[in-house]
């Protein structure tokens, strides 16, 4: 906490933090009288000094009737005993409660800081991971490029095959047409020749050729017999 807020502007403004609170409060004896009083009287009267002072004062007030014992004295004694009993019994609990309140306040602020630190650390880790991923991107792109090239190649080859098949089909057709034509011409010619020959063979010629064949056969049979 800074000194920028100061009561009635009595002190100078200072931007340094306040000094921390001391760990324990001032020493008191019997919960009421600070230790400094006893130390103050110690050089003159020793250890029993303040007690003698207290006893003397009390006896003086009582004897001179400056303080009269009446019903309120009894009331005061009762109230005092109840208060002391209450403090002895519940004092530490109340102190622990107050300490817990303070601890919770400090812990809440600390948790904010710790959470912020944790969030930043996770962010750093994620950033590192992203960087590693970027390094690996190179290989990723290479493999993707290879894939694309392969696809293109395959497609090209398929198309080439298609073209070749189509062209072959057309050329086969032409070849088949030509062959058919040749065949038809050949058949037609053979038939024409056969027809004409069959027509040209007159019966006279048929008899002469048959007679000649018989003569040839006879001649051949004579020579054949000799060969066997």
């Amino acid at each position: 906490v800074l000194h920028t807020t100061r009561a009635l502007h009595t002190a100078q403004q200072r931007l340094a933090p306040l000094p921390p609170l001391p760990e324990k409060g001032g020493e008191v004896r019997y919960g009421l009288i600070p230790e400094e009083f006893f130390q103050f009287l110690y050089p003159k009267t020793g250890v029993t000094g303040p007690y003698m002072l207290g006893t003397g004062l009390l006896l003086y007030f009582l004897s001179k009737e400056i303080y009269v014992i009446n019903h309120e004295t009894v009331a005061a004694a009762c109230i005092l005993s109840v208060i002391i009993y209450g403090i002895k019994k519940y004092g530490s609990d109340v102190a622990a409660f107050a300490d817990k309140l303070n601890e919770e306040k400090v812990a809440k602020a600390l948790s904010v800081k710790n959470e912020a630190i944790k969030d930043l650390e996770t962010a750093i880790e994620q950033e590192k991971k992203e960087q590693w991923r970027v390094e690996g991107c190179k290989y990723l792109f290479d493999s993707k490029r290879n894939n694309v090239a392969m696809l293109l190649e395959t497609n090209y080859r398929e198309r080439l095959l298609t073209v070749y098949n189509e062209v072959k089909k057309r050329l086969d057709y032409q070849v088949a047409m030509q062959n058919l034509k040749r065949q038809k011409e050949q058949d037609h010619m053979i038939q024409w020749v056969e027809r004409n020959v069959a027509q040209s063979i007159t019966p006279q010629q048929q008899k002469e050729s048959i007679a000649k064949c018989i003569l040839d056969l006879k001649a051949l049979s004579k020579t054949a017999q000799a060969a066997v």
């Binding site: 807020t5 019903h71 309120e72 009331a75 005061a76 109230i79």
Partner: protein
Amino acid sequence: MNLSFFDQFTSPYLLGIPLILLSVLFPALLFPTPNNRWVTNRLSTLQLWLLNLITKQLMIPLNKKGHKWALILTSLMILLLTINLLGLLPYTFTPTTQLSMNMALAFPLWLATLLTGLRNQPTTSLGHLLPEGTPTPLIPALIMIETASLLIRPLALGVRLTANLTAGHLLIQLIST
């Protein structure tokens, strides 16, 4: 000096100087001033916790505009609490047993609430004079009664505090003997 039971209700005078102001202001000394630290000592922490508790209880039913009453109501509550509790100790004087002080507290606060209500929402505040669901013939009589009760309210508040404290402290004294 022989003390009777009613001596605790006499306004204290020292050589003719009225000490009533001192006895009203004295409880303020018992609370440590909250310093500027964030983490304070135990007493300050407990005091702060108590203040937060009381303010929360007072301010939760109110909307944002009503929160400007927080300071006066909380400080009033703490003052009355301390004054009344301190009066239980022997040889102490409780200022709130004096009717004058209670009327001085009651009249301005009551008047403030009345005027604030009349100023901001006049129809609603006047409408409060008639409870819901009253049969029609009773309306004039009821309005008179509600107005009378409204005007009597500060007297009632003041006397209520006085009587409660006086009777309570007296009763405690009686029982303790």
